[in-house]
């Protein structure tokens, strides 16, 4: 791949991410209506781009795909689900805020799991628009990044998180949380520490799922519960953890999480049927127990 210092492309990147941040300084925008099919006239596209309204109806036999299916998975950030829950109701996000765990780990996978769950806490704090919690998250992220040896890569994000929270720029905070996670995962990959990179995603996904199952459980509908249909992600994480077990210094914790993920996968799939209130409750109990394991010692 070609990579070179290039001011023009930097400008494009800055434009994209700065635009998001700037536009977030106003209060929450009106929720976008889902499932709308805008007419061509509403297209955001500018000339000279070529724009086609797709008709759909194309078919692909995924079992006979002739090319390469790339194994790398980009795990959705909690906000992707929170925004849908906001469209479906008005959850009490403040009730979902966690307390900052005061715990230190020496094992890198333990630190990475905790870091992932703390970043997810940041997304919850953004949803609750709770400045103090966001600042606590920024401090915890910096401290954990130091344990992972990536403090210098993360410090600018932590400062940006605090600055954006001070201005109640919630989209800016959201963007920096995503960037923090991306930066740490990329550095872990550079350091040949794929296990830690995956653990960041696992910790974040479990904490996010814990909160989402609680919100859905408080006001159940089949439509909300459908958001938990994520068996492929549970599978992916389960496989990743199983692979780490042979090299792990603390395999018991990872094994317990892997077992929990296998059960979550069963509950999320449910043979194609609706995810029931009982399944949502079990998912919540399960993820709460796993997150407790992640944020405490012993």
């Amino acid at each position: 791949m070609t990579s070179r210092p290039a001011p023009r492309v930097l400008t494009v990147l800055l434009t994209v991410f700065a635009f998001e941040a700037l536009h977030a300084q106003s209060p929450k925008p009106a929720p976008a209506k889902p499932a709308a099919q805008p007419a061509p006239a509403e297209s955001p596209l500018l000339p000279p781009d070529k724009v086609i309204q797709d008709k759909g109806a194309g078919e692909l036999d995924l079992t006979q795909f002739p090319g390469q299916v790339i194994g790398e998975v980009i795990v959705p950030v909690p906000s992707e689900i929170f925004t849908v829950l906001d469209k479906l109701g008005d959850p009490d996000w403040k009730a979902e805020l966690g307390t900052s765990p005061k715990v230190t780990f020496s094992e890198r996978t333990d630190v990475a799991l905790l870091l992932g769950s703390i970043v997810a806490d940041g997304f919850i704090a953004v949803q609750a628009e709770d400045r103090k919690s966001v600042e606590n998250v920024g401090r915890s992220v910096l401290s954990l990044s130091k344990s992972l040896g990536v403090e210098n890569d993360v410090i600018r994000h932590c400062q940006a998180i605090t600055d954006a929270a001070d201005k109640a720029n919630w989209d800016g905070v959201r963007q920096e949380l995503d960037a923090t996670q991306a930066t740490v995962r990329a550095r872990m990959a550079e350091m040949q520490d794929g296990a830690a990179a995956e653990c960041i995603s696992v910790g974040g996904w479990l904490r996010g799922t814990q909160v989402i199952t609680n919100v859905i459980g408080k006001s159940y509908s089949a439509e909300r519960a459908e958001l938990l249909f994520q068996p492929d992600l549970a599978d992916y994480f389960n496989d990743a953890l199983e692979e780490m077990l042979s090299k792990a210094k603390n395999p018991d914790k990872l094994k317990e999480i892997a077992n929990g993920l296998a059960r979550l996968r069963e509950l999320m799939d449910n043979g194609g049927e609706n995810i029931t209130p009982a399944a949502v409750r079990e998912m919540h109990t399960l993820t709460a127990a796993l997150v407790k394991k992640i944020i405490t010692k012993g």
């Binding site: 494009v12 090319g67 390469q68 980009i74 992707e80 925004t83 996670q181």
Partner: protein
């Protein structure tokens, strides 16, 4: 102390800073969507491919969200194509945008679950074509 740390961090970052031109092309295509409130994910897929080769990634979608997938390359004179299929293999993109060095498709998630994003890049003369694929949601 904090100022010193920030300076060090900035220096270490700029020393390593390189720009992925394919990702920049994808981000250029993302600008109009950002103006409409789409949040662009910071993580993205990247790699190289041969002209005409098909590649795919899998991605979790949530019903109620709208997505744009942006494919970019720094290869000159390239033709890019992206399509998104649901788990049954039905194409679900509702709009396609192509321009020099990028292609983008919009998806209104019809259901919660995994989708498959299939893409190709065709050029006349480049053996290994760099590419980057990003997405945004709202």
């Amino acid at each position: 102390m904090l100022v010193a740390s920030l300076t060090l961090a900035a220096l270490s970052t700029s020393a390593r800073a390189v720009v992925d031109d394919s990702h920049s092309a994808a981000m250029e295509a993302a600008v109009p969507a950002v103006k409409l409130g789409f949040k662009i994910r910071q993580e993205y897929w990247k790699g190289t491919m041969k002209s005409g080769e098909q590649k795919a990634v899998r991605q979790q979608l949530f019903k109620g969200n709208e997505y744009w997938f942006f494919l970019g390359t720094d290869a000159d004179g390239a033709t890019l194509k992206v399509d998104v299929y649901d788990s049954k293999g039905t194409k679900i993109n509702v709009e396609t945008k192509t321009s020099e060095n990028s292609a983008a498709v919009r998806v209104v998630a019809p259901a919660t679950g995994s989708c498959t994003v299939v893409f190709t890049i065709t050029t006349k003369d480049k053996e290994e074509i760099p590419w980057a694929l990003a997405y945004g949601y709202r």
